[in-house]
């Protein structure tokens, strides 16, 4: 009797697992009525808004947007568990065989607390602050107080864009606080007058408008504006992409065309990002 019981339990569990895996498979791109989009948490807010509008226009389609970072977006598209990936950086050499469709431009900005007297930081100063060679605001023209360095967690493309621009390795950065998403970074800087961090310009601008006590610093003398981000003169700008693999099915094609069309320009601008169309 007991042997049968154990066998039964295992059979039940394995059937359950089977059911789970078939569910997974059915959402992997063959079903014409469902789109799964995963990846960058920077792209996710606009992708969700675009998806909502798309669903309103095409009631038979359901779009599922999940976050998990750019590398997740690429991995999911490669393994075909997602129809479209979201990636918040330009294509790299290891991204062969994937198609990148830019839907907006974004800048990564350095932010400090609003009460911080600092108006600008040079490239060298930012590098020194992040590698702990400069750890008092006094040496950068502020008050005599220790600097709280806010850094992104491993695997985030915002960290990648930042370290590449300043030619740092992530192990060289000596942070005081490590954060996950943009919102957490902004709350951390807003709650600490001595903090310095870097976030997506979209998230920063939205918060400044809401009165969050943060200040966006210019980089190398250039302010992050729609104009400078679009033409690439702002040093830390990056494309926000949708990524697909191989030839597109009509469903993917239609959504990507929609996401790149002027019908969603207002959504992109609302998030303080820069549309691809002039």
């Amino acid at each position: 009797m007991s042997g049968r019981v154990i066998a039964g339990v295992f059979l039940g569990l394995s059937l359950g697992l089977q059911a789970c895996s078939t569910l997974q498979a059915s959402s992997s791109g063959n079903a014409p009525q469902k789109l799964v989009i995963t990846g960058s948490s920077t792209v996710a807010p606009i992708a969700s808004e675009i998806a909502k509008r798309y669903e309103a226009q095409n009631p038979q389609v359901r779009i599922d947007v999940q976050t998990g970072g750019s590398s997740r977006g690429i991995a999911d598209v490669r393994q075909q568990v997602a129809d479209i990936g979201m990636v918040s950086r330009a294509a790299k050499s290891e991204d062969q065989g994937l198609n990148f469709h830019t839907i907006a431009k974004d800048g990564v900005v350095v932010i400090v607390h609003r009460d911080n007297p600092i108006q600008r930081l040079t490239r060298q100063q930012i590098t020194d602050i992040y590698t702990d060679q400069l750890n008092n605001w006094q040496d950068a023209g502020g008050k005599s107080q220790a600097i709280t360095v806010v850094n992104k967690a491993e695997g985030r493309s915002t960290l990648e864009v930042f370290t590449q621009h300043f030619q740092l390795k992530s192990s060289q950065i000596k942070a005081d606080v490590v954060i996950g998403d943009n919102e957490q970074g902004i709350k951390t800087v807003a709650g600490n007058p001595l903090a310095i961090g870097y976030v997506s310009v979209g998230a920063a601008k939205v918060n400044v408008e809401q009165g969050t006590p943060i200040k966006v610093l210019p980089l190398e003398g250039i302010q992050a504006t729609a104009q400078t981000v679009r033409d690439g003169s702002f040093p830390l700008s990056r494309p926000l992409n949708l990524v697909t693999q191989g030839s597109l099915n009509p469903q993917q094609q239609k959504f990507i065309d929609f996401a790149q069309s002027s019908q969603v320009k207002d959504i992109v601008q609302e998030q303080s990002l820069v549309p691809v169309q002039e």
Binding site: V9, S71, D176
Partner: protein, 283 residues
């Protein structure tokens, strides 16, 4: 292999359910080990404490600072919450007037019901700036300890309270016959009598503190380092998994599963340890 007393269909159902939960636990453990295998095949075990740091993108996987961070916030929180929780329960049972005790109990139950993300948000916008005023940066071991202490206090208070309520009245009568006052009875008779209940409460609280993720992620600063003071930021194993799992691929992902496995082994060890010291049924 197993011998069951046959007591009709109810007993069979119970046995089935028990076997089911046991099997699920084993499945989880098996799954964790399975997901950890790739990293164990690639690096030698001592790299988990010999590597220069935690930089998965540069193939270095030192877990020691995070294990210490986890133990640090947990031990700190439990040592604050235990005396407070026990005293809350004593107050509720023996000192507070009936009406007040009821209200107080409801409040503590409410405290137990607040989602951890709410604690975390409160910690981030209220507690962390306060600590930053005393000693920057603010997000720190101390912030984690305080938030966790607040979160596990209801567990200790409620379990202790229930144990105290189960003490037979004859204890009190005997104690009164000996001429002992309330406090003397509480500390000399009641608390020793519910020792195993208190230990169970501490174990449950410790397990919750070890496993707490969201609140700790928001207030601890998450820097991978061995903290040199309570104002230094730390990263716990759980925060590490939450921060990086969604972004991790291949070996990095496997290393995160390894840290999950470590966490599970710590909790298992804790439960076994408590089991040996109490005669209380397993919870």
């Amino acid at each position: 292999m197993f011998r069951f007393k046959s007591e009709g269909p109810g007993a069979v159902l119970l046995q089935l359910l028990a076997l089911g939960s046991g099997a699920i636990l084993l499945l989880i453990l098996g799954f964790l080990i399975w997901e950890t295998l790739p990293i164990l095949r690639t690096i030698s075990l001592d790299q988990f404490w010999r590597d220069p740091g935690w930089h998965p993108s540069e193939q270095s996987y030192n877990l020691t600072p995070m294990i210490l961070g986890t133990l640090g916030v947990t031990v700190g929180a439990v040592s604050i919450a235990t005396p407070l929780g026990i005293l809350s329960a004593v107050f509720c049972q023996y000192y507070a007037p009936k009406g007040l005790a009821q209200i107080y109990r409801r409040l503590i139950e409410l405290l137990a019901g607040i989602p951890s993300v709410v604690y975390g948000l409160w910690g981030l916008v209220v507690l962390v700036p306060l600590i930053a005023k005393v000693q920057p940066p603010g997000p720190s071991l101390l912030a984690g300890i305080l938030i966790l202490a607040l979160m596990i206090l209801p567990t200790i208070a409620l379990v202790t309270d229930a144990s105290l309520a189960s003490i037979p009245p004859t204890y009190w009568q005997g104690s009164a016959a000996l001429g002992l006052g309330t406090w003397a009875t509480v500390q000399g008779v009641c608390l020793p009598a519910i020792r195993s209940g208190i230990l169970t409460a501490i174990m449950l609280a410790t397990a919750r503190a070890l496993g707490e993720t969201m609140a700790v992620l928001m207030v601890c600063g998450n820097v991978v380092q061995v903290p040199n003071s309570i104002f230094a930021p730390v990263r716990t194993l759980t925060a590490n998994i939450a921060l990086e799992m969604a972004y991790a691929l291949d070996l990095h992902r496997s290393a995160l599963f390894a840290s999950g496995l470590v966490l599970m082994l710590v909790v298992t060890g804790l439960v076994m340890f408590t089991d040996r010291w109490t005669d209380a049924p397993e919870v």
